[in-house]
């Protein structure tokens, strides 16, 4: 791209800064809650007062990368809508994307750069600090900890670390942990010969057999999967897809299944093998090796699943329908033998192919042929903590992840952070990690940012999803890529030569320009500026045609051993909240106010207990309990949940913040505190092996639920959060 390429400043000028001038001050009367209109200095051509302007961008509420179109009026973002042409979400969005504007316009956002203790500094001082860190720290002591998004920042940081000779950035997040992404990728390598997270084409399926994958809520690319689910159910006239879910706790996804089988935790891999054996028997062929080793009747007994149901599913899959897919995910992979369990489940696809069924699994081709950096495993994270404790990490840069909140307490990340002489946080909010940072240099939120993201899963073609600012920055924040590049230039020398970009937009334009050569995209342009304009207008680049091809599955030899568990009374399922997911956006009040789909609980943490178990323990709805694991303890109110095994309890993630903002702070509990574990063969966390004890506290604390209001008046009356917190502290102190 030419040096005259549009700079960030120019394009911002074009893109609605007029609006900023025109924007936005106080309301115009006691009743008026709207923002008052102001005249322009120079009215942009397209910005007619009172007429909407739409900008295409990409959602970053989760790492999937759905396309958005944001409606703006006079420089203010008014509504998030789905990009109808984007190959992932085709115009739809989830609740998190909808509430993203409450993150953008959140009053609790970080308002400018500061040092530890809260003293404000200028951006110059902040950039100086970064430059000093890059210059004075020995390269092996520099660590970048990034979030899960496969975005331009990760690629830029990778280039910087390569130029410095520092280790590549570490990408991690709580979502990757409970989704067992690396486990899935490792198993896919054994079955499909490609080490990546596969996409399951459920839109075409007649039968979906899912083992614990919560693909309608938060799993990998939830809107793309939901879109496919709708098509599976009613998209083909006369051919309604059927869906079987096998998991210990009925997730929202499981609640939509035709058949929900609560197999005993740890037996899911064996159930898959038994199912395979039954399928082979129905087809009248000899069961391949891994399936032959199990006895379906024994497995059914051990898993506490009716054999007859498994037989019916096997018969339906083999005899009645054509297209069948089996997918593993989430909680069933959270054991030390998780890789083997995933292999056993994926091997079902191989078996079905041998029985003459088409493959419904493919891998999303990486945009531009460039595979994004894989997320780190839990094991790599443990190594990082060891290095921090040993004083080998001299400068730690944190972006897009909130380790103090998201990482399990047992990892000891907080203590290790104190041993790092320089911590720089780029968080947009004052989150739990910020107090540990020596410098806090807040990044924009995604609706104010430039960027792109290489879609990794869920799309049937190459997708480079583009971001552009839909409004000018609300506060004095600065793009992290710009801060890093300014620091690189300040350092100068060889580093600046190897990372020669003036600013973030120049870096992005250089990457995007590579796609200009391609002739299979949705648009072509001879001039780089025109191509860039088309890139922004479409919200990214993707190919005209679907290019992913079905992956051929093998049936690997696999030994599914026994899953190991801690001592304790009850199995614990920690699941991403269907609305809040990992809780990074818990300070968006409408996400708190949106009811959980299965329990209808809002604004708090609940613990799901089976009705019989609850009766045995004398527990009722809203009873406060202490949940105790070998690694930690939390309080939560009971929700008597009919869709869970009697030997299991379940708690959603996403709450229990001690910072982040007024709507998230001191609300509910964080079940990640209960986790502590070994690792599986792929280095992922075995988070499913924790067992807990539940103790009744003898008090009630009413959960706000949409379903009814019984119990709100009288006994167990609702108490405001502050008071509840006080009482919890009292209880804790009396226990000690």
């Amino acid at each position: 791209m030419s040096r005259e390429g549009l700079t960030r400043r120019d394009v911002l000028k074009l893109a609605g800064v007029g609006g900023a001038v025109a924007a936005v001050l106080s309301g115009c009367g006691p009743m008026a809650k709207y923002v008052r209109r102001r005249p322009y200095v120079e009215q942009p051509e397209y910005a007619l007062p009172g007429k909407s302007v739409y900008f295409a961008t990409t959602c970053r509420e989760c790492p999937a990368g759905c396309g958005l179109v944001v409606r703006t009026v006079e420089g203010r973002a008014i509504k998030v809508e789905g990009n109808p042409n984007h190959p992932l979400n085709r115009g739809s969005t989830c609740a998190r994307a909808q509430a993203a504007l409450q993150g953008l316009y959140n009053p609790d956002r970080a308002r400018g750069p500061k040092v530890r203790g809260g003293k404000a500094i200028t951006w110059e001082e902040g950039i100086d600090a970064v430059a000093r860190a890059l210059q004075d720290t020995p390269p092996e002591g520099i660590v970048f900890l990034l979030g899960l998004a496969p975005d331009h920042l990760a690629e830029l940081v990778y280039e910087i670390t390569q130029a410095l000779g520092a280790p590549p950035p570490i990408r991690f997040g709580a979502l990757a942990m409970v989704e067992a992404r690396q486990t899935l990728a490792a198993a896919a390598e054994a079955v499909f010969g490609q080490k990546a997270v596969p996409t399951f084409d459920i839109a075409k399926a007649d039968l979906v057999i899912s083992f614990g994958a919560n693909f309608l809520e938060t799993w990998l690319s939830p809107v793309a999967y939901a879109k496919a689910y709708g098509a599976m159910r009613q998209g083909h006239p006369g051919r309604r897809g059927v869906f079987v879910q096998i998991e210990p706790r009925m997730s929202m996804t499981g609640a939509n299944a035709d058949l929900w089988l609560p197999a005993k935790p740890g037996t899911e891999g064996l159930v898959a093998l038994a199912l395979g054996r039954l399928m082979a028997e129905v087809a009248g062929v000899e069961a391949p090796e891994p399936f032959a080793q199990v006895d379906p009747a024994q497995v059914a007994q051990a898993a506490e699943v009716p054999l007859e149901k498994l037989e019916k599913v096997a018969r339906y899959a083999v005899q009645d329908v054509e297209r069948v897919v089996a997918l593993p995910g989430g909680v069933v992979l959270g054991y030390e033998n998780g890789v083997e369990v995933a292999q056993a489940i994926l091997a079902l696809n191989g078996l079905l192919e041998r029985l003459g069924k088409p493959s419904l699994v493919y891998f999303t081709p990486p945009a531009g042929g460039r595979e994004p950096l894989a997320p780190a495993t839990y094991k790599e994270l443990m190594d990082l903590v060891d290095r921090m404790n040993a004083g080998q990490v001299k400068a730690l840069f944190i972006h897009g992840v909130n380790p103090v909140y998201e990482f399990p307490k047992v990892l000891g990340f907080e203590e290790a952070l104190l041993k790092v002489p320089l911590v720089i946080s780029f968080a947009s909010f004052d989150d739990e990690t910020v107090p540990y940072a020596h410098y806090h240099l807040p990044d924009h939120t995604f609706l104010e940012s430039w960027g792109y993201q290489r879609v990794q899963v869920g799309a049937d073609r190459e997708v480079l999803s583009g971001f552009q600012p839909v409004v000018v920055p609300v506060f004095d924040t600065r793009a992290t890529a710009d801060v890093l590049l300014a620091a690189v230039q300040k350092v100068g020398g060889a580093l600046a030569e190897q990372v020669p970009y003036k600013n973030e937009v120049e870096f992005i334009q250089k990457q995007v320009a590579e796609f200009q050569k391609r002739n299979d995209g949705i648009y072509q342009a001879a001039h780089p500026k025109v191509f860039w304009a088309l890139f922004l207008q479409h919200g990214g680049w993707w190919t005209q045609e679907a290019t992913a091809t079905p992956a051929q599955a093998q049936v690997p030899t696999v030994q599914v051993g026994e899953a190991k568990f801690d001592r304790g009374e009850l199995h614990l399922v920690v699941f991403p909240h269907p609305i809040l997911a990992d809780g990074a956006s818990a300070n968006n009040p409408w996400l708190q106010e949106t009811p959980d789909p299965t329990t209808t609980v809002m604004w708090n943490t609940w613990v799901e207990v089976h009705p019989e178990t609850a009766a045995q323990m004398g527990l009722e709805n809203d009873d406060l309990v202490l949940i105790d694991s070998p690694y930690g303890a939390i309080f939560a109110s009971v929700y008597v949940y009919p869709g869970i095994r009697p030997d299991t309890i379940a708690i959603p993630m996403g709450q229990g913040h001690t910072a982040l903002g007024r709507w998230a702070k001191n609300r509910g509990a964080n079940p990640i505190d209960l986790l502590g574990f070994g690792v599986n063969g792929a280095g992922d966390a075995a988070f499913g092996q924790v067992r807990v004890t539940v103790r009744k506290m003898g008090r009630r604390q009413v959960l706000a639920r949409k379903e009814n209001t019984v119990g709100v008046y009288g006994d167990g009356r609702y108490q405001p959060v502050d008071k509840r917190k006080e009482e919890e502290e009292k209880v804790t102190s009396t226990q000690e």
Binding site: V21, Y40, V41, P49, G50
Partner: protein
């Protein structure tokens, strides 16, 4: 402690009287505030521009045929002519200052509707309704003044007189203006 009934009655009467009085004062203030001519940041003379120079309304309020609001004049539009004129009056000097500083002129809208009323210029202007029909002869006055009684009955009478009975069904429906 119990209060004697007479005392209680007295207290109630006092409270009610106070509330009524307060409401009257507030209402009068509001009425005054909403009807008076708002002071503008600089004295713009409509008469000179419209009558003497023959500018059309749409030259400055250019958004009326296309958008919801007619738009308040942008500095660049003023300065397009005024940069060729020597600033002699306080108003033109103020204008020059705004232009030099790159600031928007904080015009005060004169014809305003409450928050619960949705109004869009585009359909009205595109139907050939002249600006004067609703705003009066602004061009004859020096300072823009709010039009009295721009209320619901006034809107509806026009909607009724200027449309067919079938169309009036849609134009008189509450949700046409209240959303």
């Amino acid at each position: 402690m119990s209060t004697a009934p007479s005392q209680l009655r007295k207290a109630v009467v006092n409270v009610v009287a106070f509330a009524v009085l307060g409401a009257l004062v507030l209402g009068a203030t509001w009425l005054y505030a909403s009807q008076r001519v708002p002071p503008q940041p600089l004295e713009f003379n409509h008469y000179v521009h419209v009558q003497q120079l023959g500018l059309s309304c749409l030259y400055c309020h250019s958004n009326a045929p296309r958008g919801q609001s007619a738009g308040l004049p942008q500095v660049n539009r003023c300065i397009a002519c005024h940069n060729q004129l020597e600033p002699k009056s306080p108003a033109t000097r103020a204008l020059q200052k705004y232009a030099e500083n790159g600031e928007a002129i904080p015009w005060v809208p004169v014809a305003i509707q409450p928050d619960f009323v949705y109004f869009s210029h585009a359909p009205h202007v595109q139907r050939g309704i002249s600006c004067q029909t609703c705003h009066g002869e602004v061009g004859q006055s020096t300072v823009a003044q709010p039009i009295k009684n721009q209320n619901m009955g006034w809107c509806l009478s026009c909607h009724k007189n200027m449309s067919t009975p079938e169309r009036f069904v849609q134009l008189s429906s509450c949700e046409a203006c209240h959303k």
